[in-house]
């Protein structure tokens, strides 16, 4: 995969497969410490210690249905290739948290890519999940929570053209706004 946004999409798919109805994605660009941190946190069914241990190994799988495939080993390898770390924590019945840290300036670090496209795919394509997206660049933060949007829509589907446009622009503007604030303070 060529973008971190595609990895995020893939990891979030695991959360959906795990039956989560609350999924939070965070992207934190910390230029001061030269770190880029991505976390995906869900309230899905979680995994026991044994499964958790196997999950990062691409050649061991106990799955009967394709719930978790090569996505996690790929994401882990991407972080480790950039002097980064990969962490996965999980508790049966409580959920799973995946966190990847990259050296921001590392030459092999993939670009973030089309974050809006990833979020649109998840939000519009899986309306039964409550999606929260948090984007932090240094001390500036944008938080997108689709719950108030769904409440306001009150039954009007997210795939209504004007609604899709609204969501796309809202996320794009939020991301741009955080980036602009940062560049204007430098």
């Amino acid at each position: 995969m060529r973008e971190l946004a595609l990895h995020i999409l893939d990891i979030a798919e695991n959360s959906i497969s795990a039956g989560a109805d609350q999924i939070k994605i965070s992207v934190n660009e910390d230029f001061l410490n030269d770190l880029l941190t991505i976390t995906v946190e869900d309230n899905g069914k979680g995994m026991d210690a044994e499964t958790l241990e196997k999950i990062t190994d691409p050649f061991i799988t106990s799955r009967t249905t394709r719930q978790v495939g090569l996505g996690i080993p790929f994401f882990k390898a991407a972080a480790e290739a950039c002097d980064g770390t990969f962490q996965i924590e999980s508790e049966v019945g409580a959920g799973t948290k995946v966190a990847s840290v990259f050296k921001h300036s590392h030459i092999d670090r993939m670009p973030l890519g089309d974050i809006t496209g990833t979020l649109q795919t998840l939000i519009i394509g899986t309306p039964e999940v409550n999606w929260v997206f948090e984007y932090v660049v240094d001390q500036n933060c944008f938080v997108f929570d689709d719950q108030p949007i769904k409440e306001t829509l009150d039954g009007v589907p997210l795939s209504e053209p004007a609604v899709m446009k609204f969501i796309r622009e809202m996320i794009n503007e939020g991301i741009q706004d955080v980036r602009q604030k940062v560049s204007s303070t430098i």
Partner: protein, 122 residues
Amino acid sequence: MATVKSLDDLKRIREEALKKQQMKETSGKTEVIVGMGTVGIAAGARETLKTIMDMIENENLSDIIVRQTGNIGLDSFEPIVQVVLPGEEKVTYGKVNPEMARQIIKEHIIGGKIITEYQIMG
């Protein structure tokens, strides 16, 4: 300064959408499903789905439900797009790139005609 999207804007959008719905007969909704497993994503499924969403937005196509799903189980045909018109059988398309997705929207979803050369399985 970016204009911040407010929920008031969304309320207006909702009113408009409801008005449109009332004018129409309830003929049921068309469903478009894109497989979004690891293999699908690596093969470009997000771009395919993004194209479909952009088309819906630009052509102002109401009453289409867009869904993404995990692995459909046909790895070598990813990206996979399934179309279900109201009251009709599910049609599965394989190796759908953005250009093919545009064609599927135009010919199948708007025009009602299955593109058999892109179809896989039956």
